[in-house]
Symmetry: C2
Subunit: 202 residues, 2 copies
Amino acid sequence: MARQRDLTAHQERISAATWSVLAEAGLPGLTLRAVAARAGCSTGLLLHTFPDKRALLLHARDLLHQRTAARADALEATGAAPEEVLRALLHQAVALGPEQHEEARVWIGFLAAALAEPELAERHVRGNRSFLRRTTRLLAACRLDWDPARCTRAATGLVALVEGLNVLAAADPATYSPDAQRHALDDALDRLVGAAGPVSPP
Amino acid sequence: MARQRDLTAHQERISAATWSVLAEAGLPGLTLRAVAARAGCSTGLLLHTFPDKRALLLHARDLLHQRTAARADALEATGAAPEEVLRALLHQAVALGPEQHEEARVWIGFLAAALAEPELAERHVRGNRSFLRRTTRLLAACRLDWDPARCTRAATGLVALVEGLNVLAAADPATYSPDAQRHALDDALDRLVGAAGPVSPP
DNA sequence: CCGGTAACGTAACGCTTGTTCCGGTAACGA
DNA sequence: TCGTTACCGGAACAAGCGTTACGTTACCGG
């Protein structure tokens, strides 16, 4: 036999390079050669790891979804009160630090690509609906007095607010500063699940 | 002398074709040949009307901003109460009908392109800040008891909500239906400027 | 230690892109 | 009516793209 490769490791490294290029150079700058240069390999390895560019994009998109879902699962697994989990979930979903900033840029790139690629659109819809379901579930746990329809409507507003902040902050971080985002998010949350404190005020 | 052209008409028609292609085929499908075909002319005319592709994009972007600004100005010129104007402004900014749906797709395309093109990013920032200023001004007229900082913060949340709804509805119109968007927007507005009625309830 | 095999880099291909250039054409003044 | 002049279409260009095919290299079994 002969040498054997670590296919999963290659996929991960190349997907990471895809994110990096997408965040930095945008959708038109996302070429196989740029990704290969960022990953420190040749275009040959790229197309030995993925059948074509579309598959590369899909895998990178799936990885983005898996990563955010894992973070959310970790938050829920802490066993904290639903109010806390909901607040933490939305706060970490918003673009505060430079790392989440890059993620927002990547997200926009994938979204723009999804408008023309049905397969990418399907991933986007699946991911966002998953986020919306999770938010609805947490909100319902906070407001036991609300019927499911009302929870869904309120959660829709929360998710839209979060994604709007992400999108706007990605393009104008000065106006949509971390403080401004936190305020906007907390204002909306306080209205729904009560004031800021983790437990009900005395 | 010889025949003379209507430069402005050409610019408008070509920019309209640019929107159409951008909304339908996305950013990667936006080629000069596709725009020319949609406008019913040759690529020669495109580059006699605009020096290059970048200038074409910038002009189309400016036109989008001008058009939304004109709609907003018209709303303010009606002389209605600021509560009504604010509500109407945000409702028409959200993607309800198919026409505004297409506009949202175009907006996403420009946004994604702006992440790599500084000149487009500048237009985006200018346009969004203008929208934010207008919202802040209207909100301040509704809530005379609030200080400017609070108005700015609340307006930031409103704008983010509107753009978030637009973005999400463009990719998943089933989940973010017109009804869902209206509810989310009215919920947020009712909290800030009082209940739904155009005038104060009896 | 060495053959053989799988993995990888490289170079080339065909295609499409943005852009340029020139020939034809339609309108205006005389 | 006719010549001139600006305008427009379409072919042609270089560059860059995704993709393919082939040669090289590095590893594992014997």
